[in-house]
Amino acid sequence: MSFSILAFRKKLPRKVEIGLGITGFLLFLLTWQLIAVSGAIRPEFLPTPVSVAEAFVRLFTERDFASDIVISVRRVWLAFLLSVAVAVPLGLLMSTYRAVGALLEPFVDFVRYLPVPALVPLLVIWFGVGEASKLAVLWMGTFFQLILLIADDTKRVPVEFIESGHTLGASNGQIMRDIIIPAALPNMVDNLRITLGWCWTYLIIAEIVAANSGIGHMIWSLRRFVKTPEVMAGIIAIGIIGLLTDQAFRYAHARWFKYLHR
């Protein structure tokens, strides 16, 4: 196995990459531990990694954290899928038919710049404090971004691909199904992965403001008792879920689009 870690943009052996990833985490934990035991910061503010790990276990054994996770994951995926279901077809149409693009683009751009947290009070007035308002916050936060990302992905399909389709005798529908979608799909999947990450940000905002369940709600209620280790454990749980989802997406990407992965 011969490789250089200094070569620009060259892939490293898989084992080395995983090793480096783990080292990154260990370095973070080590730094954290050193700062925590140095006494420079009071433990109420910065507990040690070990006490956070203990709190992590306590969350599950004493506070039924697992059901909060299930609730949050369900909210995220439900809102995400609702957003995808509308944004993907609309994004495709927007980039394919100039008329749809001209109709929607300015409006989508306008809404996209509205800060979602500022919309939360309004959404709570409209949808109450139940599930609907949470879904609405997540949907607002992702839909208008996603539709533009999808439109961009489809716009980047080379015009020669589409024109080849025309001269090979494909109808518009066939060009969409057999050329535009397969050509844009890898980038779309990447953008879905990124959008799903944003869902978590908006979820926590939604759960902090108006919820009596979910990870965000749990974190926010523990804060009142200055349970810093539990609060940090909750945040770390979100990180772990995010990391796992992200890895699953990357794995699927590599499986589905072999031609892009050497």
Binding site: P158, T167, L168
Partner: protein, 266 residues
């Protein structure tokens, strides 16, 4: 000879975004192409060759004039006119074989079994059988262009339109593909319009060369190469070099004169 393709008084003007300045690209232009002809378009850069070819292919609409194929008026692109682009247009998510097979996808004139046969036939013809399972982003530019040619042939167009298909390739690959195309042409007698900047390529491949003026394109000269240098002699390399060089010099002179106009314009 029967008029296979008839271009009558076709013209095209591009307008700038603000609609204030016009660029006349193709003058009212007429020409006919017979079945089985290999017509090479030569002319100064920017004169409108690509535009005219795209109009023939239905990918661009002319302002005036008509194009008929076998007596039928053409409007918009379809499978009767296959296009090979200068840039690589093979689909990276498909293997070499699946790319070529894509050419047969929308054909209703042959069975599924025949589609497989046609695919293998053209894959073999362009010499890519060994690379059947390679994705096209894993093969060289020359191979990709062969994939594009095979894919277009597999769709069985009546007319093959090629816009500088070998423009981005190195000299050796280009020469190899020229020989392959001469071969295919001799066998299939496919009516072809081919745009190039390479005068030698034009003489080698053409049954007829059409030289265009600087923009707006007008035909300055037509040369029936088949009458001067027999096609077989070009294929087997036994051609008379003196005739070849003289023809080359003539053509270059015309193009240089036209190119000078281009420079005066700007």
């Amino acid at each position: 000879m029967q008029n296979f393709i008839e271009i009558s008084d076709v013209s095209k003007t591009y307008w700038s975004e603000d609609g204030k300045t016009e660029t006349k690209v193709v003058l009212p232009l007429s020409m006919t192409i017979a079945e089985g002809e290999m017509v090479m378009f030569l002319g100064p850069s920017g004169c409108g060759k690509t535009t005219l070819m795209r109009i023939i292919g239905g990918l661009e609409t002319q302002d005036h004039g008509e194009i008929h194929l076998q007596g039928e008026r053409l409007a918009g692109p379809d499978r009767r006119r296959g296009m090979v682009f200068q840039s690589y247009s093979s689909f990276p998510w498909l293997s070499v074989r699946d790319n070529i097979k894509f050419g047969t996808r929308y054909r209703k004139d042959i069975s599924a079994q025949e589609k497989e046969e046609v695919t293998d036939h053209y894959m073999n013809m362009v010499g890519l059988t060994r690379y059947a399972d390679f994705y096209t982003n894993r093969i060289s530019g020359g191979m990709r262009q062969r994939v594009a040619i095979a894919r277009t042939l597999a769709s069985s167009p009546k007319v093959l339109l090629m816009d500088e298909p070998f423009g981005a390739l190195d000299a050796q690959t280009r020469e190899y593909l020229q020989l392959q195309l001469m071969d295919i042409n001799a066998r299939e007698k496919k009516t072809t319009v081919f745009v190039t900047h390479d005068v030698e390529e034009a003489i080698l491949l053409a049954s007829r060369i059409v030289i265009f003026s600087s923009r707006p394109a007008r035909i300055v000269k037509e040369i029936r190469v088949d009458d001067l240098i027999p096609p077989e002699s070009r294929r087997d390399g036994s051609l008379d070099m003196e005739t070849f060089m003289a023809l080359r010099a003539d053509i270059l002179k015309i193009i240089r004169a036209e190119y000078a106009h281009t420079l005066e314009d700007t």
